[in-house]
Amino acid sequence: MSSNAITIPDLDAEAKPWVDVLHEWITTVDHKRLGLLYIGYALVFLLMGGSEALIIRIQLMHSHNEFVSPQVFNRMFTMHGTTMIFFVAMPILFGFGNYLVPLMIGARDMAFPRLNAFSFWLSAFGGLLLYFSFLGGPGLYGAGSAPDVGWWSYAPLGARAFSPGHSSDYWTLSLLVSGFGSIGTAINIVATILCLRCPGMKLNRMPLLAWLNLVMAGMVLIAITPLSAAQIMLLIDRYLGGHFFDAQAGGSAVLWMHFFWIFGHPEVYVLIIPCFAFMSEIIPVFSRKPIFGYPVMVAATICIAFVSLSVWAHHMFTVGMNSYANSFFTITTMVVGVPTGIKIFNWIGTMWGGRIQFKTPMLFSIGFLFQFLIAGLTGIMMAAAPFDWQLSLSYFVVAHFHYVIVGGILFALFAAFYYWYPKMTGRMLGERLGKLHFWLFLIGFHLTFDVMHVPGLLGMPRRIYTYEPGRGWDTLNFIVSIGAFIQAIGILVFVWNLIISYFRGDRAGNDPWDAWTLEWSTSSPPAAYNFATLPVVASRRPLWDLKHPEDPDSQYE
């Protein structure tokens, strides 16, 4: 245990020329700087993907609206989905993982710092490739610019016959390149956690965040590989005369769906498991109690990871699999609900009997719990295959997965921002702006995504650029769009808070939340080497032991 014992001479006393600063950031191999790069890069894409969502919502405000053309609308939802999954959610979670994992396991950096930098720049390059399609997509064909095939690019829509020009190629290459980046980061996280834990930190003393990132990284290795394989096959189809997905020549459109969802469903858990990790760190601290049922939380996570590898075809109940396959994917999907339920109950168990402090991170965490509960239950509805024959491909599904991604993942991320921003910058995020952000975003979220379930139940399919009047969808869509704008205002408040607090926020000190994990034992922001002397731990909550020498956790574990 150490709280940064060495005082280093203040090298930053003289402002460096900006080129030097830029050079430092570009060539950095420090896990903290790379983490921040991931996060900053993802925030930029969040604003872009969010703008695309607003264009979609303006278009759908009423029936037969002509705000944008069908071609532009189709590009917007394709880019929105691809951006949000691959260039917002993935990098931002990798960013937090990169930043926090070494600090929480008492390591000085990731296992492979240069691989870490390489992975980040691959991902960043992937994002640029995707957006370059706006310029390069037409190619010599004068075809449409950005990809308009949906973020699944279902075969044969992604074939050259239906997607001429290069827009699909930019999509394919960007996912391929950033996919390699993801694999690099995943290998790095696994190696770091397995090899670089500080003395005393046995696997069963690791913070849950490290455990869950380990599981997440393992899933990335399994999930990204089929996606990359499918992208390579698609390239072969498009340029080398292959017929993997070409139904006219004996290939199979359904094959693409399987490849995509063998990636796509584990991907959902790749995104949500790190958010479970945030919850498992934040809820205990603000309830002033240790996590309820640590071993069960680890077991449930591993269970989710395994089961989630066998549920992918619940995205395909409408493609005409036989009833045995449909039954199989029904039961596996429902089974995922059991370990997920255990997690929710254990978080409630953590709060039960605690002394809950409603700081902004905890507000977002409570939002997460409510919304993730609902998202899970609508998921159970769609797991019932016949029910899914009505719900699938409708706005109900869109509402469901936005409940997971916005109501779950984004709320957890906001909680993480408010919780760890002091560690990353040395300044607290403004609490008043934080509360304003929370309420605006909560109201906007529920206005948008609660209401969005209903048009789905009333037969509104997804991915339509306009709809017919007289179906009972107009008012609902109008409310949904209003909610989207309230969320956008909430996001702007958040971004403003990030900027203003960096300059004027209260000084955070090492441990503003009176927390228990190792990252709070070092300075804020931590020095390049993280810990002056490597900490030694004896329990899951080393700082609790330090603060309560009369009643340390190590007695009970």
Binding site: Q71, G150, Y154, L157, A247, S252, A253, V254, R288, K289, P290, G293, Y294, V296, V319, G320, S323, T330, M334, V338, G341, N346, I348, M351, W352, G353, G354, R355, I356, F358, I366, F370, L373, I374, L377, M381, A384, P386, D388, W389, Q390, S392, L393, L442, I443, D450, L457, L458, G459, M460, P461, R463, Y465, T466, P469, G470, R471, G472, W473, L476
Partner: protein
Amino acid sequence: MQNSQRSDLEHAVDEGASHTRVRQRKMRRSRNTITTALHSVLFLLCSIGSAAAVDFSSTAPTSIFSPQSTPAKSIFDLSMFVLAITGIVFAVVFSLLVYSILKFRAGSAKADREPAQVYGSTQIELAWTIIPILIVVVLFLATARVLHAVQDAAMPANAIEVTAIGHQFWWEYRYPQLGVVTANELHIPVSDPAHPTPTFLKLLSADTDHSFWVPELAGKTDLIPNHPNRMWMDPQRTGIFVGQCAQYCGTQHAKMLLRVSVDTPEDFAEWVREQRQPAIADERVAAGKWVFETTACINCHSINGTAANGRFGPDLTHLMSRTTIAAGAALNTPDNLRLWIQNPEAIKRGSLMPAMQLSKSDADALVSYLETLR
């Protein structure tokens, strides 16, 4: 013949929806902000739940909660069961959450003592593992029953067989038993529950993936190239049922509308008889027919008894027996026909129908000719 009340085109006013008013709650600056939060969440959930259940299912022509056919009814019953169970789970967990948030919030005075540190409880954790497992078993068994009943239903000998072929962005229907070919508007007979005459659809695609979804009649099933699928329905009420393509298929996915006319057995037999007639050859519109046969129209369209036998576009032999054109994007009126021929982008931007760029006199003649194709 057309039930205008249910028609999606004529019925432009969006009533019913006005019932969801999301009231603005004034956020009081109270110490108890969490309670306010819970209230607003609860309020929203309730308003949405009631809105969905009461207001809309009766007015929306495509609600999944007003089933008119056995597969849709089976799904509806299952969905009510699943909603009930998930509703109970929601109520229980929601209450636990609300209770723990309200009960265990820190007082205003900063507590100097930490609460009791509890690390877990094997019994409790076992309980909330086993109970969900039992719920999952029950849900699965209920689901499997409906799944099997709907998906594996045998086709009776008297079933009407229709091959539905999805195209960018329209529907082709072929009745192999009856020798009928038509497009975009599916006619099927009503089914008497005592003596069912279900319709079985064989689903094919000519290009990309599509999905056939008329919510009141059945769940959706995809049309995938080189992957024939099957679905069935036995509507028990006559009338027009609408829906639309549900699987994103390209630029005009949104205007690939479905229109199913459920006819009495007599009306259906009459419709079949008319559809089997060759195209009317009226000498008065020979000029229009000549335009049709000498331009690119025949590359894509068929008219029985003429030189036109294209397969890329809808069969026009009995064009005027249909209420809509462009897969439901516009009403089948002479003005719309002319617009569709001369400037399809005005009706359905990005459709594969080319602008024919005919002279005014040719266009007049062609529309007059098409008008005779009853």
